[in-house]
Amino acid sequence: MSFTDNEVQAELRALTRKFAENEIRPIVEKDEEEETFRPEIIRKLGLLGLTGVPVPEAYGGAGLGYADYVVVIEELARVSASYAVSVSVTGLAQMIIASGGSEELKKKYLPPMASGEMVGGFALSEASSGSDAASLRTVAKKDGDHYVLNGTKLWITQADSAGVLVIMARTGGEGAAGVSAFVVETKSAGFRCSKREKKMGLSISHTMEIVLENVRVPSTNRIGAEGEGFKVAMNALNGGRITISAVAVGVGRGALEVSVAHAKEREQFGKKIHEFQGVSFLLADMRTQLDASELLLRRAASLRDEGKPFAIEASIAKLFTTDATMKITTDAVQILGGSGYTRDFPAERYMREAKILQIFEGTNQIQRVIISRSLTK
């Protein structure tokens, strides 16, 4: 593990930052307000090779590691958490198919997602199964060489723009052992988006409720064996926690930058406000929290790349980075004062974005359960 970017990471960072500043920064505030997702942003990211960073080269990706991938996510989040989450959620589908899918599935679905032509998604949660994911009720019933899926899924990121979703459904009895994973095309008959959530933030990234009514999926679209779906989902979420940590670091960095700029510019009582310790110490704490976050992120990503166990470290990174970013962004609004509270500056948006990071991809309560169990089991 390195404390700083290597050559590849520095290049990825510069490339993503330039794109985010030029293509996303000018539209992000208005699009967040109007809840507009632009697929062409993803396509352009794809042309730059930024939508398939961890996907093997044989399937159109860059074949790089998570330590490289998170640099891209972080730089997107520095400008727009929504687009960072979009790429990261497509990444979930990519990694599930790449790690557990058949050769046929990989060939069919990975290249369009890696090129940015298609976004993907992941469907696990339901109305009554959130943190308790293994209690899900969506059913996949075997019918010849197909499965027939029925049920309703909640909190599904970009289900309205995705080409495919990896959907978790019950093929067997109660609990985790009865769950299987399927690659489902959203154009399938019986698939529909039934509702779009109105959220506090992250509004460019649409959060959908989906309904599956007798959706027929070829048996060959199952990932792994029957009953292996929950393991697939949990492995994916372990990786997902690393990318959410990267979103947190990016949002935190954006918030720190806007705070420093304001503190150097704004004068009250005849001085720049950074000359007051009430402000300068907040800045010092923000930087310290951000650096600690970045190091935990790098550790989790590096362990994964080295093929070592990383699940606990991913949970620790997710818990710490998202809590830190909540604090950093709240303080950013405070430093900008009245201006920070308005939509003329991004500080309040960063704060609204930070809150969801503590909730999705496993709430921070669930991260604490995972971490504490690992200590006492």
Partner: protein, 385 residues
Amino acid sequence: MWFFSDEQNMLLETVRQFSRDELGPKIEHLDAEEGFNRESFFKMGELGLLGITVKEEDGGAGLGAVEATIAMEEMGAVDASTTLSYLAHAILCVNQIGANGSADQKKKYLPDLISGKKLGGMGMSEPGAGSDMLSMTTKAVKNSDGYAITGGKTWITNGPNGDVFYVYAKTGDTKRDVSTFILERGMKGFSTGKKFSKMGMRASPTGELVFEDIRVPATARVGDEGGSVKMMMKNLDLERVTIAGISLGIAKGCLETATQYAKERKQFGKPIGAFQMIQERLAEGASQYAAGRALTYSVAKMIDDGKLVGKESAAYSAQAKLQAAQMATKVALDAIQILGGYGYTREFPVERAMRDAKLIEIGAGTNEVMRLIIARQMLGDVANM
């Protein structure tokens, strides 16, 4: 609170019912659309809330800081936006005219403001004068007919739609040469500038006021020329303790929603309220809320009983606001966390509560300024070395 009188408890019940019936059904839509619940002000007028601190002989309810804070808390629990606009109207404008205005000014302005026919506000902050408010540059230049007022104000609650404004302007060159004028929409040279789009408090319009050579007679001035700093500070104390009431209300609303959710939502085969982490957040929030309530109402009562004067009053009010504002943001953030994904959506009021709560750490003096005031009271001149 243990010391509330029967009348105060009755007021609490009345405002609670009003908030539930009149404010509750509209706020979600108004927050989304950045609207304003203007009609509720007429009903507040009927209930006697708009002139709550004005003497009865001037048409008010003749009540004090405790009652005003009760009103803020009960309305704030349902709709912090409208409550903030209520505060700007009742405390920053109506209270000030009642306390400092001449007999003619009271006669001219109070009836319509107390009935709700006209909406009031106050003009103090300027783009370059926020925390450092005495560095304001809006000028009132004396002439043979009265004054010519030029400049502008920003962050004005009710600015985009108010009718009557209690405005501070410089009438001399030193920091303390501050005078007050009552300005009205419709006066030549009076206009509204930008309206801000905000994170929260979105149903309480905030905007800029622009003054281009507004000519007013000397009778538009409130009190003595150059004599406003003391009145301004005294009103800030009342503003801070009553705005703490909005924070209390926000926290109360969040605790109620989160407690109900923790009882109903089941995961892993039991209500999430059975998990210690949820219990811890609820217990912590309830305790911090209780502490905020005890402090805020005690300070309000000390103000009403005349037990606080000068800098001591400022420091106590600042402590109440600082504690309550920080507490409410924390309680709201935790309520969202308890509700999880649902808490992040607009289907539950806690995400709005969090967006609203943050404002009170900034408006009416930032947390940083509150700490400054408290530390100055403790340290005296040492604080300014």
